[in-house]
Amino acid sequence: MRRRPGIAGLQSAAASREQYRQVGENVARIRTDLMKEQLTTFRSQLEEFARKHKNDIRKNPVFRSQFHEMCSKVGVDPLASNKGFWAELLGIGDFYYELGVQIVDICLSTRSHNGGLINLQELCDLLCQRRKGARESVSEDDCLRAISKLKVLGSGFEVISVGKKKLVRSVPTELNKDHNEILEVAQAHGYVTIEELEKRLSWSSGRAIDALETLLKEGLAMIDDGHKDGKRRYWFPCVASIFSASGFDGFKP
């Protein structure tokens, strides 16, 4: 590229600059090409895996939860988006998103009874009843994953642990430590009385009444004044086991 005089020289200088720029572009392009190559290899490996084991993931909840654990260890989220490879090739996205829709539905229909807090076991039972026609079985782990995905939408969907049980919250009400302790005590019989709280947790009566009134206001507790001894009982449908056993037919779709 020797320098030439005149217009021809200017043109050739411009042309050589252009060529240098394009070579630089190509170097950048090679890096992205490498990235693309990695991506295609990964995708073909995933396709191979899906071809052999798609059914296993669908049918076997244990394998499914194992799969999820390994994904989270590695740092990928197979349920992050419907557009990702995981959803596209393994088809597990639809399963969880549909589950999410059904869970929201069930929580909404039981809200008038339990105020927005439902026992995880009860939720799973109602889900299984609803999904009798579907081929895939749903485990508790699946419910937990679907709910953790729903959390990002606001509206307070969360799983909280109270004693040994897990409760699913579907309203934005915050429960503080006092409320949690009341729910723990309520697990024994399904109800609490003020004396019981004062005795077990050594609270003042004012504190117990305050917490119970809040739970009442939020719709999580129900009053029962009909007992012979005249003491007021506060029932908690979310921890009471009366609903989960026999077929509670009120919520069939």
Partner: protein, 438 residues
Amino acid sequence: MAVNWLPPVSLTASGRPVFVPGEVERCLLPAVDLEPGENPSLSPLLSGLLVLTSHRLLWIDETSSSGFALPFAAVVHAYPPKKSIRSMFASPRIRIQVSASPDGRVVAGGTRSEMITVVLRGKNDPDVFYGRLLEVLRSRQWEVSVEAEKRDLESVSAGTSTTTAAARVRMPVVGVSGILRKEQELWESTDKSLQEAFQDLNALMSKAKEMVQLAEKMRLKLLSGPSAQGNPNEEEMGSKQDMQDWLLSVGIASPVTKESAGALYHQQLARELADFVKLPLEKAGGMIALIDVYCLYNRARGTALISPEDLLQACTLWEKFDVSVMLRKFDSGVMVIQNKAQRDEEVFARIVSLAQKPEALRTGISPSDAALTLGIAPALAKEQLLTAESIGLVCRDVSPDGFRFYINLFREIDTNDIYLIKKPGPFHAWLSAISLSG
């Protein structure tokens, strides 16, 4: 202005193309030019979004919200991208031969023949696009749509009869031992396949780990922001877009930075959602909770559902586009979608006027009263009342009946002369209202 040489395509209010029945979207490519052939009076279409569907090739200009369609019925032949030394440095070009009318417009069955060049300026893979284009042309979906429906109905009825026949054949099983044997076989086969499955899973995960490490480097690059050279090169933007798409497909959360607009998928989803959500919004009175939209949209979709994170990402992208809906987060964490037209001031004005009615001055308004007046769900009405309280328009009263809200009279009290009652004013109206009740 040169003659429009392609028929226009109608767009929805949010910029998504309106599809004909049976049309399916196959491929999306950003930054594409369409250049007409040798005719100098036709102007080229520069830098738009190319949408490959089963019936047409759509070119959409997002800035001016206009679009043109190239019907496949007019396409004669598509030439593959040339692979020469020269073409390595230039943007890949795919040439399509179409039939045209004498004045240059592209129509099916025209007399003349024109050559249209599709220039892929973004970082798109021309071979993949060309492959899809050929597939679509070969399948000739636009011709077979009506016949296919008829044929589908026939095949469905035939299919059901064959399956029932097969089931009937399998029914006679050889006694209890036969059943037990089958159970045993099934159990063994699942066991074996499970072991194999776990091995494969391990191998897959090790590969995924490599991808994650690579992704970390990419993520740092994304977060570092635009380069110091200050060159507004589209290359930089294009590669960032690619990285977002890439991270999304592997399943790694990627940051939606202010400059980049997130993955292409989310952009299109955002537009689709803006169209979809209009009707439910009207029914719900202008405000609807995000979780309700998630259920409604997924139910409407049927298959290929979206994840909650997809929904959230798409909604956050609305502020970049010019759509008539917005996402709003209340202090309690509840997220709603509301009409941009429904300004907060208007809602608060209605709440204030409701709170100043004589009955309301005496007993206050509850969230359900507000819900009736505003026409929105009670939970959302409560959120609005709480927001009104936080800016000082109303005051709350907590009683055994629940929450009630009263008009804020404290602002009317002049601290220098606290007994002064300005008439007319809310304070005066309140006094006359409560004195009536005795």
